[in-house]
Symmetry: C2
Subunit: 403 residues, 2 copies
């Protein structure tokens, strides 16, 4: 990777979306993005959803670092979080260069970073997690940093809290940590995707009104005003973290499911208990909750679980072996009234013939879902960031778009 | 009231609806209806909403006590709660008769009780509170019991917890009490209606789907499963009780309003945190929440407050002096799209010309309310039960209907 003066150094990585089953909500230190409680997520397959990011640097770039997201140049200087990540990564590179003077002085070169999501921002999926994970991973690769994903998660966390969990695949915990400097607030793999590869997720994208409150603002409102939040953060979540890690180790889906659903409900309860109250779930979300409870009740066992982030979209987890009853029922309800069934996980769904008879479901639940779900994303547990050769910056430094 | 063998003894009373501002949710003793926490309500005027109940007894009635509600004979023997109230009242009468042998032996006579609400049950208003308060008050009057409303509240509580608060007017606290036998779990007047007579309430009746879970069942689900409930019952509500009593004494509407709204939100948060989760508020309820916050924000001061019981209806409290901005805005939004504007409190509303310009409100909030609110009930703080002469049982014992 040594080069002459006009060389463009570049690396490209993909990074996944993750959906928490124990929710991150509340910062004990907003500056360092240190959370009030630990959280745990499932990394989703990049065959469905991913961010693709090329990090490049060159001496012939303009002096100021540049970032382009989905074709739009970003005001990088006004994003403290991006600057924090970049200066941190650059410092790590500087340390390498100091230790080994033969290394090219990449830390002195301006960066040009180009990033694209393969899903619409309007879908209301937490794109910042995948985005910052990809940015950190791509620049770390560019700089050939020796740090592990665990170490890098400390940097990604400063970009967007939940981004730290997107640096790894499978089942990932973000340990809240205790140190004031955040040195022990980082992500750890609880189990790789290969430990429990049968985990599937159907995302029901709900035709969203305007989002109630941005999550960065909302979570601090909750921390500051909810009378129930401290109990959640200090007592309830630590117990749930232990219990769900055990459930994952044992591949105990019913336990995993109940904890997931209860934590989603508890998180939204503290939002409602905030002042002023924050609502992310709407009537369509509630219909998805009812549907999951009805399917489990009709099945006579726990075959699916819902969770909701800071928005109305439902994510429904289930195991591949339950595709007939879970996927089949959802397909029977939504059929062609929702887009997005295509995609790499659709093959399994094309062949489902089963599912709960719609007559057994509450007809209002069915109607509300049919009207309110605009898009379906089929996915499952997946791997962490992957290095790829499809660069978004050309060999001579031009920005290229894959769209 | 002495009489010959065929005399029909009768008394009639009205009783009010009350709407809690600190919510009753959870029993520590389901048998005795002892609550997990104290609660506080505003008694609503009987000019708008009331139950009318005649209690009568006669030796020529059939041997078994009878109860007719809204024209329909009730299976009194299968209602443990009704039986508990009647046996309790009868025992009090027996004690009187034992002490004074000259009294007619009413306690030995079968009862015929006839009760009518002046509002549709379908409106989703807590009719059991007014119903049991009227039943207890009417029979106590029939038996000429010397007990105070406070004492009688102990009996009404066993019929329906919140009924104990409908035995008094104005601002009423139900003290949870500590004794196992419930002897100290009773209602107390915090302030009479005349202390703060300007309190008004607009009830927005929401076209209800089927109710999620009956409150008797729902509250015990919450007690048994919500991880946040104990904090609410033990820590949060006691503080709020003290604070709202002070606000009432001082007629401090902003404080009253904030506590009221926060307690409603906190109660619904513990419902959502229950397992399985319980939802009473829907998108129309949320729109009412938003409207209240928007009106207060535009007014630049707290002029109205929402509260929600175990259903989607919004009750919006405000002071008469704010009728223009609060009532005017709601009237401008709902206009003729909601029924029920007629009634004794409508006079003030007919003359309102003010209100927030609808352009300043979120248009979706306005649309959701316009579509989702079917009926409006205008009312205000009012008195406790009142003895009246319009009996629902004739001099000869026949059931009469006022409808």
């Amino acid at each position: 990777m040594a080069g002459n003066d006009s060389t463009v150094f570049r690396t490209t990585t993909t990074a996944p979306v993750n959906i928490a089953v124990i929710k991150y909500w509340g910062k004990r230190d907003p500056q360092l993005n240190l959370p009030t409680n630990s959280s745990l997520s499932v990394t989703l397959s990049q065959r469905s959803l991913r961010t693709l990011t090329t990090a490049s640097c060159s001496s012939h770039y303009p002096a100021v670092d540049e970032l382009t997201l989905n074709g739009k140049p970003q005001e990088i200087q006004s994003s403290k979080r991006t600057l924090a990540c970049l200066s941190n990564l650059r410092a790590q590179r500087q340390a390498l260069e100091s230790a080994d003077p033969s290394l090219p002085k990449l830390s002195t070169l301006p960066l040009r970073i180009v990033s694209e999501n393969n899903f619409p921002t309007a879908a209301g999926l937490a794109s910042s997690a995948a985005g910052f994970a990809a940015l950190v991973r791509a620049v770390a690769d560019l700089y050939q940093l020796p740090q592990s994903p665990r170490d890098l998660s400390r940097i990604a966390r400063q970009g967007s809290g939940s981004a730290c969990r997107s640096l790894m695949g499978g089942y990932v915990a973000w340990r809240a940590g205790e140190h004031q400097d955040g040195s022990d607030s980082l992500a750890e793999e609880v189990a790789p995707a290969s430990h429990w590869p049968e985990m599937r997720a159907i995302i029901l994208v709900v035709s969203a009104e305007k989002k109630d409150v941005p999550s960065t603002e909302g979570m601090q409102t909750t921390v500051g005003t909810s009378t129930l939040f401290a109990t959640r953060a200090k007592e309830i979540v630590p117990e749930r973290m232990t219990a769900i890690e055990t459930a994952i180790q044992k591949k105990d889906f019913p336990a995993f499911a109940e904890i997931t659903m209860r934590d989603s409900n508890g998180f939204h309860a503290t939002c409602l208990d905030s002042w002023p109250p924050i609502f992310y779930m709407n009537d369509v979300s509630r219909a998805a909750v009812r549907l999951v409870h009805e399917i489990n009740s009709i099945a006579g066992r726990t075959v699916c679980a819902y969770t909701f982030d800071a928005g109305p979209n439902a994510v429904i987890y289930y195991l591949d072996e339950e595709s007939e009853i879970v996927g089949g029922t959802i397909k029977a309800i939504l059929g062609s009234s929702a887009e997005g069934w295509e995609g790499p996980f659709n093959e399994r769904m094309q062949n489902v013939t089963g599912g709960v008879s719609l007559d057994k479901l509450d007809s209002r639940t069915v109607d509300v879902l049919k009207d309110g779900v605009s898009r379906v994303i089929l996915t499952g547990v997946g791997e962490g960031p992957i290095s790829v050769d499809e660069h978004l910056v050309s060999e001579t430094g031009e920005i290229m778009s894959r769209k």
